[in-house]
Assembly symmetry: D3
Homo-oligomer: 244 residues x 6
């Protein structure tokens, strides 16, 4: 049930306590992929996951601007501070919980949101009237070449939104890309911003993922999300006993 499309009377008839909140970002994804990549993919996966799940969870609109100051040197990148992002998410989840949708999965498409979502779902689950957990599609699948605007995201875009991939800039994208995220010494990342290590904002090889791989990644992501929804729907979310 897409909250944006239904009426309050439709919602009142719902019997679920499960909600999905897609969370994206509007930020540089190299010269070949759109700024909206993270929001578009999070929304597509959340929509498909909700559809394939046996039940009819509510789905909120996608939160389109997240924690992305690390890409601030690339034009068009938008962001809010982590604290503001957490407040926005927490209160939005709280409003869902007030209607009884108190098992909430944040469906996330952006690496920069992960820490903030882990923190805020902990805060919500401990202190508010809801249980919340964050799902990030690229952490939930069996792939180790995520990058940024790299093979995975580009593959998914080619499958889902091919018109948004600038294929004629793929070579440029490859040439200015970094091999991996960050600048590492003693297994510690010294860089705070992507412009410290990537010329054009890309990490990884965007040519390495075609639409077919995109389809596979999408199916794997959606299946993982459906599995998580099943676990969340039936989880005992009561507080554990104090020890001693």
């Amino acid at each position: 049930m897409n909250l944006s499309s239904v009426t309050w009377t439709d919602v009142a008839d719902s019997e679920t306590d499960l909600a999905l909140v897609p969370v994206g970002s509007t930020e540089q994804h190299g010269p070949h992929a759109p700024l909206g990549t993270d929001a578009l993919l999070a929304e597509a996966i959340a929509e498909a996951g909700a559809d394939r799940f046996d039940g009819d969870p509510v789905r909120s609109p996608t939160i389109p601007i997240g924690v992305a100051e690390e890409h601030r040197h690339f034009p068009g990148t938008m962001w809010v501070s982590p604290e503001t992002f957490r407040r926005y998410v927490r209160e939005a989840v709280g409003s869902l919980a007030s209607h009884g949708f108190d098992r909430v999965v944040l469906v996330n498409g952006h690496g920069g949101n992960v820490d903030a979502l882990r923190e805020v779902t902990g805060t919500i689950s401990r202190h508010d009237d809801a249980y919340a957990v964050s799902f990030t599609w690229f952490d939930a699948i069996d792939a180790d070449d995520m990058g940024h605007g790299g093979p995975l995201e580009t593959a998914l875009l080619r499958y889902l939104f091919p018109e948004l991939v600038r294929e004629n800039r793929i070579e440029d994208a490859r040439e200015g890309a970094a091999a991996s995220w960050g600048e590492w010494v003693s297994r510690t990342n010294l860089a705070h911003d992507s412009a410290e290590f990537s010329e054009n904002g890309v990490v990884g090889d965007p040519a390495a993922g075609d639409a077919e791989r995109g389809r596979e990644l999408f199916d794997e992501s959606v299946a993982a999300l459906v599995g998580l929804l099943e676990a969340v729907a039936t989880r005992d979310v009561s507080e554990p006993d104090r020890r001693g």
Copy 2:
């Protein structure tokens, strides 16, 4: 230029300093109109206004959840606190300004956002590196029967998103509607929540606006927005002199 669809290199090639940020809400609009009404209409008007304006301003994704606690008694309504909303808007605008888009029009579709947007655009314009102003479509046109889920919004939905209007519930919508917003004594509104005065969340008669009126309202709104964009693009935004 829709930021969600373009790449950072496209943005880098832009020569405008003008940005539009659509702002909506996800909240009850009666039994006949979708929760996403305000976001959908704000986005449509912003998109058309940006297109018709001579120039190519950037358009950010729509902020979908706003100040709507006044509808909290109706299932599915989402909200954040005014303070969190202002912080989210202020920081998002700040990120646009960091790229040179420092004349920003918030294109708003929700009455509950008006005060918060007036405040935050003042704060931004006085203290940050941008000039910002808020445009609310129904305050910019020549109509006095706005209501809530009433003739104007329903007319616009019928024109733009007819599949989202539940025509078979229009009679229910009329019957449970309030004639006007609020409970007034001494020209002062005593009600803080819409459930205090409207049985089903509707204010005004949703049957009173057909798709044709919707088309007229849309054109009038878009024309008003284009006029505003022209004024903002050329406005002297330097600070006035101190007096005395």
Copy 3:
């Protein structure tokens, strides 16, 4: 019962649950009217309203500094941020409510406070242990020529505090005045500060309101306030039912 003058034992004997909190501002009102205009008028109307109301509500001291940064270019104007103002009002009201004065009318004399008071009274009424509502005298009467330091305020000052009106500067005041508040395009105000549109801070014609009109305006304002107090005293302030 003026809280500043009575003792706690007097308050303990009180049987009312109704309180008035006058709210003003200290800000420019043109070359002819004092910076304290808004506080003086709010206090006078609150005092008279409390006296004429059948019952003996408590009246707090007047909050003298409000949301007035829009007049920052004029010497002597004082202000706090809207957020600080809301916090100050909310906590002050909370302290009244702790003693059982949990129906609170903010009696306001300043346009710049209106949005913040609407927000904070909503917050209080929804989340704290009190019902609060904001009354702004010039919004409660039948007059459309409010201005700023204009006919209405000058008339009231002439009636209540004639020694504070610099009659010898009225011509100067008229000459540097703006005809109306703001700079409007597409029914949208592009100005955030009064110095953007008024040379001397005045809006409207201060010569257009004499002491006799001041007396009428005062009586009308006080009568409106008394009517509101009656409504607040008897209002059902329980939360409405959730729908669906």
Copy 4:
């Protein structure tokens, strides 16, 4: 120059950089003295100090509600949190400083405000565009029997506002009074609220200060304030050198 009474043009003609901000409280002062005691005395002393000082400093309206939760068990006591109080004071002082009044003396009448004023004047002086210092009249004079609603305050009220002292309740006030403030073990006060140690809110003997002593205390307080104003007006407020 009382800001409430003058116009912005009067302020513009001022040549001083010195401002006084009276700070009071609205809180229980026993069965015999008014809740407004602290605000009334602070304002009277500030007014006289400004008058007797050779120069014409501006005087803001009195901040009437302060840090007084320690009296919360006594009806009518109003308060805000220390953090909100500091914010209100800091921003109000900042607005004065924006007009060039950047040497600011907070003239305080309430013990509960002292810590918060010390903190906020330090913050202002270190980080904002002003030098600020807090003056508390009863700490500035040669007397060690301050109490609360006790000999000093009652004497001052008898001199300045005799109509506000309920003389017929003085015996009651004495009988329920505490001998000293707090409950002390190891020179440490274990009490946080006045109701923990005073039956009726009074500390000290209100009969021990007549109007004549009030006159002396007033003159001593005002003289101390004038001395402070002279020091502040001429103080080198540049930041000291870093050592080393």
Copy 5:
């Protein structure tokens, strides 16, 4: 019971509801005494007090950085803002209270922390699930020559940590010392920073306290703390009745 050394199972076996939280500062103490003076002394006194008290209260680790911006001109001085310090203390105390240690004594070694600790212990005791009080060793003993890096602190260091006193710099310390804290006019301190009145950060004569006096001061401080712990352990911490 030193929380840093014991296990959670040890804590679970504890039967006390009493906790000590040592609070220090890392700040200049002249050319002869270490930056850690306040933390070292607070910890030593807290440890001895807990040991000598009949019972086995828990002792948290020492909070090492406090409110010390007043020494910012001296290299190595560390600080946080008073607000952040209060939040850190309040939440740390709250975590102790969650385990049943809800009578908490803050054992403080730094004058700059005193106001903030008084405020935060009041806030905790009124609004949280614990009673808290602040003990500052030099306010709890019979001595009036505290200074800063002066006779008392230097004596205690000589007794407890003689290796940390640079005896060869004592003459330098004396020569650059101030006689007393602050710059006073009308019994009001005009200085906010120690560099305004002390050349080398010292106040008082560090030669005036030998190790023997240090032993006496230590014993007196510890005895005072033990007395306070006894009072806190048995205190009725229920809220007093509302009056009237």
Copy 6:
């Protein structure tokens, strides 16, 4: 240079711009290991790293209480909120930077602090006058059996603080331990608190790390830290260019 032990004059003679801030936690580490484990290990590694580094960086006292609410069900665990922790760290680092120590390594011993430290070091590096980076010893070494109170931490304790390991409880510790951290579905952790998956708070086998392994782990950790210090000392920390 241990800031706690030196004087401000010693610090003034320093020529480094490098600082270490050890960060720990006070939280359950099973029935066999002390609550102070994380602070003790962070401090030991920071001290040795500073000693072995060629240069003489300053070392601040250890921040002893961190982000540990996930262990709240185990007695004695202390914590502050992530937001308060970040503020405390940010401001403490800011005070170091004010003295020229503007390359700051947070030496962390607690997994729960990692996200918050990553965020705050990004904030500091982007917006304040310092470059900061977080080093967590167990992320910097070649080992994949970290656990909690498990083989690595127990081994280090046995090497550095053998008296604090309760060897007689090791069997209990093993029996109640979880095999791994969290409850995972779709590679997503559903648990927010350690009590959801560990009976006694332990994760991993504390018998699997003896003192000899502890020595190796310590040396590896210290070497990693030294390598990081070298990189930080010489890093170009100027902001990268904006793209486009």
